[in-house]
């Protein structure tokens, strides 16, 4: 009984944050701001749904820890896709305001014109 309540709460929290993430994707009108909405769905939304899955597996007697792996891979890969989308926006100029210029004379890596001619940097 207590397990059912915990599982239900985790499922509802996960569903609510996934819904808010999707709603934000539709509602927000600026491209860079829109990028923020799915980060909610992929962190707390999916995290809470996976927590429900772990709780369900334990309540039915056979523990399952696959979910930790799902979460770990998701948390490692989600920022990379967000990073690529942000870079694409900066490249195409579809941002509401240009990124700030730096005092030190450096530019942002994806706006650096010299870098495109050079071969890939293998030292890093």
């Amino acid at each position: 009984m207590i397990w059912d309540i915990l599982i239900a709460v985790a499922l509802v929290i996960g569903a609510v944050f996934t819904l808010v993430g999707s709603y934000g994707l539709v509602k927000i009108d600026r491209p860079m701001s829109r990028l923020h909405a799915p980060t909610k769905a992929s962190t707390l939304g999916v995290g809470s749904l996976l927590l429900a899955s772990i709780l369900d597996a334990y309540s039915s007697g056979d523990g399952s820890l696959h979910e930790i792996l799902v979460m770990a891979f998701l948390f490692v890969t989600a920022p990379i896709s967000a990073h690529f989308m942000a870079k694409a926006h900066i490249h195409r100029g579809t941002v509401a305001a240009a990124p700030p210029t730096l005092e030190s004379g450096e530019t942002w890596a994806c706006l650096d014109k010299d870098r495109e001619e050079q071969p890939a940097d293998t030292s890093a």
Binding site: R30, K40, A78, H83, K87, A109, C110
Partner: protein, 163 residues
């Protein structure tokens, strides 16, 4: 000798843990096989990992993870409220350039991922020399406060862990 046979102890531990989680059972057979994989794979691929990433204070990692998970939960709620109840025109998005004190690529990657995972901020780019991180903020009145919080809350801890 040990150094040559086990070039990356952390990778060995990680591979062992990942294999055991994939198998989803706790038994000695699975553990031994996971350990064999964890020892053989880093050894066979050692020529592609010439440098071992430096991790000077690994015992500080759990503390960092707890803070990260807590911040994800708190930030999620506040950003969800912003997204649902604030009109688009009232949001004040801002670019923030964060000057970096950390230099190792692993530490900068961790910081950038942390910033993206906590809702409300997305890391977009690094500067050409790796001295600044470009962060986009969804809704803020005080961009300097966000920069200072990221520096004191995450970067300071990552600096302790990696350097």
């Amino acid at each position: 000798m040990i150094q040559r046979l086990v070039p990356h102890p952390f990778l060995t531990a990680l591979l062992t843990a990942v294999w055991m989680l994939l198998e989803n059972t706790l038994s000695w057979g699975v553990f031994v096989f996971a350990l064999i994989l964890g020892l053989v794979i880093p050894f066979l691929t050692r020529m592609w990992w010439p440098n071992r990433p430096k991790l000077s204070r690994p015992f500080k990692v759990p503390e960092y993870l707890v803070i990260l998970i807590w911040d994800i939960i708190v930030a999620n709620v506040s950003v969800a409220i912003t997204v649902v109840f604030k009109r688009n025109a009232d949001m004040k998005p801002a670019w923030i350039a964060i000057p970096l004190d950390i230099r190792s690529p692993e530490a900068i990657t961790c910081l950038a991922s942390t910033i993206t995972l906590t809702p409300g901020t997305v890391s977009a780019d690094v500067s050409s020399e790796g001295a600044y991180l470009l962060v986009h903020c969804l809704d803020t009145d005080d961009a300097d406060a966000v920069r200072d919080e990221i520096k004191s809350r995450y970067e300071r801890r990552l600096k302790e862990i990696f350097e």
